[in-house]
């Protein structure tokens, strides 16, 4: 479609390797970029099947399924995984609930300070994690709040909230307003309109906000590191273990997370495409 150059008169327009590369240069670079993105992932997956010679899983030794058969074999790993999962679930539930309410409030109502509210939502996303993390820490220290799982949950809710509000707001903005009007024309009262029309339409936005928020919480290291006290989340475990050498089980968890996430995305696509039909 873009290739509308008039053919040069003196040269036969013959497909050659050089020409193909020029025409597809952007694709070549795009694929190189994808390879760059997947280089470390390939490494993580590959070394989950390694049987390291000593404790350090850095050099390829021999193929083995040991780590996959015994994912909890590295001490403390599974505990940290559970900690991350429950903290992620709690933080996601709170952030999604509070954030969805706020998104409705911000996109459906005019009020004074709406512009300020938008800036306030954007600010935490524009704050470097070290600043957000260390500022929360100074607050907790000043108030004498003991660091632990509770402070981690608070910190996670804090940074997930903005992402939830932004995501749900985007969904609300993209919604067809005539559907709600139609419901009201058909004598649905506001409550019915909300639960029968508005909510089902916004639900996919809320679900993706929750998924985003869980993955942000699950993977957060910098903010957690400031506020965790002695609570060990999965990233905290990896950080601590990295000094001593990571067990292949860590790679198993990394690979497993990737597989689970991809499965969820694929199922989500499948469900939404079946619904669309």
């Amino acid at each position: 479609m873009l290739d509308t150059t008039p053919p040069a008169a003196h040269k036969p327009n013959r497909p050659t390797v050089g020409r193909w590369i020029r025409d597809h240069l952007v694709v070549v670079f795009g694929i190189l970029a994808l390879l760059f993105m997947f280089a470390p992932i390939a490494n993580v997956v590959r070394f989950s099947f390694n049987k390291p010679e000593g404790k350090i899983n850095l050099i390829w030794n021999q193929f083995s399924l040991d780590a996959w058969k015994d994912p909890c074999g590295a001490s403390g790993l599974c505990d940290s995984l559970w900690t991350s999962i429950w903290i992620g679930v709690v933080a996601t539930a709170i952030a999604t609930g509070v954030g969805t309410l706020a998104a409705f409030g911000m996109s459906r109502h005019r009020f004074r300070g709406r512009g300020l509210a938008n800036v306030l939502v954007f600010l935490p996303m524009a704050t470097p994690e070290v600043v957000a993390g260390s500022s929360l820490l100074t607050l907790f220290l000043n108030l004498g709040v003991p660091l632990g799982a509770v402070t981690v949950v608070i910190a996670h809710v804090m940074f997930c909230l903005s992402f939830v509000i932004v995501t749900v707001k985007a969904r609300l903005a993209g919604m067809d307003p005539t559907l709600e009007q139609a419901a009201q024309d058909l004598y649905a009262d506001p409550t019915q309109t909300f639960w029968r029309v508005t909510f089902p339409l916004v639900l996919p936005g809320i679900v993706s906000a929750a998924m985003l928020s869980f993955s942000l919480s699950f993977d957060d290291f910098i903010i957690t590191n400031f506020n965790s006290g002695s609570t060990v989340t999965f990233p905290m475990y990896v950080w601590g273990a990295a000094q001593r050498g990571l067990a292949p089980q860590v790679n198993v968890v990394g690979t497993g997370m990737l597989v689970i996430a991809l499965t969820v995305v694929v199922i989500g696509r499948f469900v939404s495409s079946r619904r669309a039909r």
């Binding site: 459906r108 306030l120 470097p128 500022s135 804090m158 909230l161």
Partner: protein
């Protein structure tokens, strides 16, 4: 996936239409809807930032306690001792942002214009690396870039290492050098660049490109006159979403760098570990102010002020 895309689409300047003035907008409803989020923002974001600013002027130690003495020299001390780290943060983050832009643009362009039915698959692939823990991926880079690894051999054999050594980016090796840290930053924040770029490229009206083709513009001219200007909102939000976290990062500097490549984030983290709270707070405030000023200047220059 759609969530991240939606999040960046929103920040990339997609202006939300004004709320419909429905008959239901009673005066108090927005208050109740917003109250929990507003309280959370106030207590856990605004107040902490204020506490941070206040702590940065305190004096004392862990054993004697910290008192507010408005000690402005905290700033002078931290800057005179750690200005290299501070400048390095800005430099590394800028270089990494430039690299992510160069790598992400062709990728986003390919997904938006050339992928056809593979588009959804490619978008999933772009965010898939997100799901393998950030730390685990960065540690994998440590493995890939190891001194006896294939990358270092390749760079040695092709003379790339010689070139990079002379640019001051490497020192006969990649780990513990600026190049290692910048590469890590580039890698880790790449999706934050690809998604907003994709969001703005995908919105471009294809008939504009056809029209320019009909008017005998070659594909290069079409790109610079149409595609690039229309993708600028994506470029601006992508660079912000890369630069801001990169400037505050310390994980890449810690894992892929060495003593000579530490950044402002490392200073904040180390001061906290040593219970030097006023010093760490002062460094955080300086970093935050620098980022806010740079971002404000950049957004003003690029003319996309509806971004926030």
């Amino acid at each position: 996936m759609t969530a991240a895309a939606a999040a960046v689409a929103e920040t990339s300047g997609l202006s939300t239409p004004p709320p419909p003035p429905g008959p239901r907008s009673k005066k108090l409803t927005p208050l109740f809807l917003l109250l929990p989020a507003a309280l959370a923002m106030l207590v856990f974001f605004v107040i902490p930032i204020m506490t941070l600013a206040s702590t940065s002027l305190m004096q004392g130690s862990l054993s004697t306690g910290f008192r507010q003495t408005f000690r402005w020299s905290n700033y002078g001390e931290i800057l005179s001792e750690y200005y290299p780290q501070f400048l390095r943060s800005l430099l590394y983050a800028s270089l990494a942002t430039l690299m992510t832009l160069l790598i992400a643009y062709p990728l986003a362009y390919m997904i938006a214009f050339k992928a056809g039915r593979l588009r959804a698959v490619l978008l999933v692939l772009v965010i898939a690396p997100f799901f393998t823990s950030f730390l685990v991926r960065t540690i994998a880079w440590k493995q890939i870039l190891a001194d006896d690894g294939a990358i270092v051999h390749f760079m040695n054999n092709t003379g790339l290492m010689w070139l990079f050594d002379h640019l001051g980016l490497t020192e006969g090796r990649v780990l513990s050098t600026p190049f290692g840290v910048i590469l890590g930053l580039t890698y880790n924040f790449l999706p934050f660049m690809v998604l907003p770029l994709y969001a703005s490229l995908e919105k471009i009206d294809r008939s504009l490109l056809m029209a320019s083709g009909d008017l005998y513009a070659n594909s290069w001219t079409s790109f610079w006159k149409i595609t690039w200007p229309l993708s600028l909102p994506g470029v601006v939000s992508g660079t912000l979403m890369t630069f801001i976290p990169a400037a505050g990062d310390y994980v890449n500097a810690e894992l892929l760098g060495g003593p000579s490549t530490t950044m402002a984030g490392n200073v904040v983290n180390n001061q906290v570990r040593n219970f030097q709270y006023p010093a760490s707070a002062a460094m955080s405030v300086v970093l935050m102010l620098a980022i806010v000023l740079l971002v404000a200047f950049y957004v003003k220059r690029s003319g996309t002020e509806e971004l926030v």
